[in-house]
């Protein structure tokens, strides 16, 4: 048990670093999902199943979905602008 916990703590420390150092938000959304899973595993190892469950639903479902949607909006907006520039009528698509 101790070994498992120690390994998870160490992995988590690395995972946090990985999240921070991933500068591309799209990739980061995925890394943070993995990081959330690691956290949930640690919580199970620390005998906190309630927290682990909500961690899973929040960190691997709710938050990445919001990030991806926000990114979709932002990139979509960029595409629209590009389209508008390219199409002579100025009407998006």
């Amino acid at each position: 048990m101790r070994e498992l916990q120690a390994a998870l703590f160490a992995l988590l420390a690395l995972g946090g670093l990985a999240v921070v150092l991933t500068r591309d938000p799209l990739r980061q959304a995925l890394v943070v999902g993995v990081y959330g899973l690691l956290l949930a595993l640690l919580f199970f190892a620390l005998q906190a199943p309630d927290v682990a469950l909500s961690q899973i639903v929040v960190c691997t479902v709710a938050v990445p979905v919001m990030i991806l949607l926000a990114l979709a909006k932002i990139h979509g907006g960029e595409h629209d602008e590009e389209d508008r520039k390219s199409s002579p009528e100025g009407e998006p698509r």
């Binding site: 048990m1 703590f9 921070v20 980061q28 919580f43 309630d50 927290v51 919001m66």
Partner: protein, 114 residues
């Protein structure tokens, strides 16, 4: 083991702050903020852990037997919800900021200076 557990919490706090300070993208910054917040979960749950104890669910174990601290778990649950809301609000702000400024780089947001 204590050093590793509490140290991880402190490390995550500082690493998240490092990410925020060096961030060039608001969405990246928001995610780094969740790393800072996750340090509080790790700290709370590490404090409440008791060696060899079971989860505080007395359906599986007899009442009154050795269990880890349920209070910190309840606090962490509250904290997790706070994370979700803060992320939602900040992402909304980031989306709007992108609409107005055309950039997500906090260094290029200029209207408020001095």
């Amino acid at each position: 083991m204590s050093a590793l557990a509490y140290g991880t919490a402190g490390w995550l706090f500082l690493v998240g702050l490092y990410g925020i300070v060096t961030s060039r993208n608001l969405i990246h910054m928001v995610i780094c903020l969740t790393v800072v917040q996750s340090s509080t979960y790790v700290l709370l749950l590490s404090i409440g852990y008791r060696s060899g104890a079971a989860a505080p669910v007395f359906a599986d174990i007899p009442p009154g037997s050795r269990a880890v601290d349920p209070i910190v778990q309840a606090l962490t649950l509250t904290d997790v919800v706070v994370e979700a809301t803060v992320v939602a609000l900040m992402l909304a702000l980031a989306v709007q900021a992108h609409k107005r400024f055309g950039t997500l780089d906090p260094n290029e947001l200029t209207p408020l200076r001095g």
